[in-house]
């Protein structure tokens, strides 16, 4: 369990780093575009690049938020239950919730295979889109693994949030 936690943590933080770099990249790219536009110089295709940068930013942020226990939930009812009941319910909800994200990853993979075979390219810049589609699939798959790991933790009666709090100091 500890080994899985270490690996998952490293991969999630690495994914988070990719997301972070993409957000910073998006900021710099957009500012440069705006500044040059004011100088009368246009870079065609920067919108396309920005859209591609958004894919890893958004998809890796999901896994990172899950690792930190940040996904919004109503705890009004569950808090009133004893830990013996709350743990299994928490685990079941987390595992059930993963089903949706599994289908997101599955649909993304199917689309990536199909579009990749068609040779999908972006407009203007002719950048292949398939690597970004697979990046999204990988990030959502990681997200699913994090959720399942948290479900197991909850089933064992371990608090998922405590994990998140520790991360505050290790980032």
């Amino acid at each position: 369990m500890k080994a899985i936690e270490t690996v998952l943590r490293s991969v999630t933080l690495f994914g988070g780093l990719i997301g972070v770099l993409c957000i910073v990249g998006l900021m710099v790219l957009t500012v440069v575009t705006v500044v040059f536009r004011f100088m009368g110089i246009a870079f065609p295709g920067t919108y396309v690049l920005a859209e591609l940068l958004l894919i890893p930013s958004v998809s890796f942020s999901l896994a990172y938020a899950a690792w930190r226990g940040a996904h919004t939930r109503v705890e009004l009812f569950i808090e009133r239950l004893g830990p013996r009941l709350a743990g299994p319910i928490d685990a079941a909800m987390m595992a059930l919730g993963t089903v949706f994200w599994f289908f997101v990853a599955f649909a993304g993979a199917r689309e990536a295979i199909q579009r990749g075979a068609e040779g999908e390219m972006t407009m203007l810049l002719d950048i292949p889109v398939w690597p970004f589609r697979w990046l999204m699939v990988a990030a959502i798959a990681l997200f699913c693994l994090v959720l399942l790991f948290q479900a197991v933790r909850a089933l064992r009666g371990l608090p998922v949030a405590a994990q998140a709090e520790r991360e505050d100091f290790s980032e």
């Binding site: 900021m27 920005a50 894919i55 896994a63 996904h71 919004t72 009004l76 987390m94 919730g97």
Partner: protein, 431 residues
């Protein structure tokens, strides 16, 4: 089963899952996917979920979310909350209840660079609450003003709630930002008047603070000058058509980095904290948005929104009464759901009806955000109150809720004013 019945069953299952603690976006997504599968086909559901999530991830407009969040987190790390409060306290603190008014003023200032009510409450809870307690303010008034001041965060742009509403309804995010400015300023004034009335009725609730010489007051202005300029650049840029909201977010974030660096407050640790906090909040928001978009697809095929529109238009209810009823539903839902969940759940159901009845999409957006914000300071799920309670653990929850009561009354007066004079909302976006 008819599609409408499947829709209502789906809604029931989703609420059950949410109550049992499933993250809100996951419950919406799961029910949306399974419902779509039941009503159309498995293959269609898989295609839909793939298209919806990829399109959302590559929507240029959603770049506003991480970029404005980054701007707020960087400024937060640079200690702007403290500077804004010091500035407001020096100018208003001498009045009776002045430090509470300063809290509202600083909350408004912080709202101008923050996209979140909770962040505004947390910041002012750390900065303003100890000051008010030091000056023997009534605990209820002090905590109530911090919690209520936080709600201004979602009204004064940039606002995360406006961005989510804009994405959900395809309403211009720039127009939503512009629409929030006048109501946001008015709300701050309403809150200040509320504090003045409370202190008039009970002068001991908010004793006068120390007086400051003019030189010190002007010096405090200097500390907040760059942030005021940044807000003017970002919002002015959107209103004047220089930038799209996404570009404004990037310029704002970049400006925040420049300001924090110039102030020598952007340490490596602070920068790292800011960017990772941005990533975490982005993930939290998209966890809900992905689910909400799948859920919306399901709701559309159930034909529930069409049936609601048909029922209401055929029944001959006055449109204004329908709008009031919808706002009342928000107030009730706000007692058990958090703001973003309430918006993503209900807007797909109500938006077609409201626009069909002839109400402006921007006006409805502002009213929805107002109602979801009132929910942040009303029991039992008043998130701002819980955030504050986490900061000031010695103040009982009921005291904070009691303190927010006068502000809730002010909130209803404010909503009534916006309903009576929609021009207050629509004037700026219409320019």
């Amino acid at each position: 089963m008819t599609p409408v019945l499947v829709g209502f069953v789906g809604l029931g299952v989703m609420f059950a899952l949410i109550v049992l603690g499933m993250p809100i976006g996951f419950a919406m997504g799961l029910v949306g996917f399974l419902g779509f599968w039941a009503l159309v086909s498995f293959n269609a559901a898989v295609v839909k979920v793939g298209v919806v999530t990829f399109d959302l991830s590559t929507n240029y407009a959603i770049g506003t979310i991480p970029l404005f969040l980054f701007m707020a987190h960087v400024l937060f790390a640079s200690g702007i909350g403290r500077d804004l409060y010091d500035f407001a306290a020096r100018w208003l603190g001498r009045q009776r209840g002045g430090l509470a008014m300063a809290t509202i003023g600083a909350s408004s200032g912080f709202a101008a660079v923050s996209a979140s009510s909770l962040a505004t409450t947390a910041t002012m809870g750390l900065v303003a609450l100890p000051e008010m307690r030091k000056h023997n303010y009534d605990v209820s008034l002090a905590s109530g003003s911090v919690a209520a001041g936080g709600t201004i965060g979602s009204l004064i742009p940039p606002s995360g709630m406006f961005i989510i509403y804009g994405i959900l309804t395809e309403t211009s995010i720039g127009a939503m930002f512009a629409a929030g400015i006048v109501p946001g300023i008015l709300l701050a004034l309403f809150y200040m008047v509320t504090i003045a009335i409370v202190c008039r009725l009970n002068p001991a609730a908010g004793p006068r603070g120390p007086a400051y010489p003019l030189r010190e007051k002007l010096a405090s202005l200097g500390k907040t000058g760059e942030v005021i300029l940044l807000f003017a650049l970002v919002m002015g840029g959107i209103l004047l058509g220089w930038f799209t909201p996404t570009e404004a977010g990037a310029v704002g974030a970049f400006g925040a980095v420049v300001i924090a660096t110039a102030r020598r407050r952007l340490t490596w640790a602070a920068a790292r904290h800011a960017i990772y906090a941005t990533l975490r909040t982005t993930g939290m928001i998209f966890g809900i948005l992905f689910g909400a978009f799948m859920f919306n697809s399901f709701v559309t095929v159930t034909t529930i929104p069409l049936n609601i529109v048909g029922f209401v238009t055929e029944s001959g209810f006055p449109p204004f009464a329908v709008l009031l009823l919808i706002l009342a539903v928000y107030f009730v839902l706000g007692m058990v759901l958090d703001a973003s969940a309430m918006m993503t759940l209900t807007v797909p159901l109500f938006f077609p009806l409201v626009t069909q009845l002839g109400f402006d999409a921007v006006l409805f957006g502002v009213l929805v955000v107002r109602m979801t914000e009132i929910a942040l300071i009303t029991p039992p799920v008043g998130m701002n109150v819980y955030v504050l309670s986490g900061i000031a653990r010695d103040i009982p929850l009921n005291k904070i809720f009691r303190g927010t009561l006068p502000f809730v009354i002010a909130d209803f007066c404010h909503v009534a004013l916006l309903l009576a004079f929609p021009i207050l909302v629509l004037w700026l976006p219409g320019l």
